[in-house]
Symmetry: C2
Subunit: 188 residues, 2 copies
């Protein structure tokens, strides 16, 4: 059976996501990507241009494609935290690829899709604050920033606590408890 | 003035910390390190063996050397969170080098010094829990894990919220507030 060029493109992209999330941009090897995709290097470059452009395509496909897969709910930030943690557990390549992206491309801009998604989340938090269902003591940015860092508590890395295994369910409960207590309006 | 071999070693190490924290292991170039240190490549390899061994030496010097620079206080976890955030702001190379370390060397073990430091922190939290000064609803590991992820809230990266600038003072206040509310014993 002859593969269509569309299938080949997709298989190269899947192999690229795997290779880049494991090795980053500098460490990735296009010959390994082509081999894993069952394609040759010349078609890889024909479809994607360069290693850097292939990384862009892999990042767009994976990270941008998953931005709103976990529905955001400003009225239930603890639940959102837990669901995001489950999503990262199911797709650790998202956390790794994002970390590489931010380490290896620090000077680059942010995709428009990310900006739109962020703005929407912040507006939803502000509406919940205006309605008095979550605390107004901290800004929407600061609340979201806490939620997002806590959502990495089972899969992310810290410079400390490298030796202790982290249990997903326990870390999830702790992160959700922290968010729950943080967002509680003080006048309740 | 002739440099001593000790000075040359130190200058290579300083240049290596800078290079590896910017580019990671795969992306770092030993010729750039040697040039920045004003040394030649042959002395770099004579002192440190290989690029991978030089990374180890740089990581040990920076990350291990800073483990207990911020004094841990189980009775004041919000304060510890804030001080760790200040330390990471002053030394962003620690956060970056640790991220590279964990991305590029995932299968490696953890240095003994890290294990000892972690165990000590967990024991101190358990003593504070036994004394009833902080919550017992979550395990020491889960509490420390939350603290450490929140300590990255001003310098760390998340797959989301890439477009919004994070203000250090505001993020610090939010992280400390989150820890303060989390560790409060429920029977107070």
């Amino acid at each position: 059976m002859v593969r269509s060029s569309e299938q080949t493109r997709q298989q190269i992209l899947d192999a690229a996501i795997e290779e880049f999330s494991t090795h980053g941009i500098a460490g990735a090897r296009v010959d390994r990507i082509a081999k894993a995709a069952g394609a040759n290097i010349s078609s890889l470059f024909r479809y994607y241009g360069s290693k850097a452009q292939l990384f862009e395509a892999a990042f767009d496909a994976l990270a941008l494609g998953s931005i709103d897969v976990v529905p955001f709910d400003a009225e239930d930030l603890p639940g959102y935290t837990g669901r995001l943690m489950d999503h990262y557990r199911a797709h650790p390549e998202i956390v790794r690829l994002s970390a590489w992206y931010q380490l290896e491309r620090p000077a680059e801009g942010v995709p428009a899709q990310v900006v739109v998604s962020e703005r929407s989340k912040l507006e939803q938090i502000e509406r919940a604050q205006a309605a008095g269902t979550i605390t107004r003591e901290l800004s929407a940015v600061d609340l979201l920033n806490v939620v997002l860092h806590l959502s990495l508590a089972a899969t992310g890395t810290t410079p400390i606590l490298a030796a202790t295994p982290i249990d997903h369910a326990a870390a999830r409960r702790a992160a959700m408890t922290a968010v729950e207590r943080l967002v509680e309006p003080s006048d309740r």
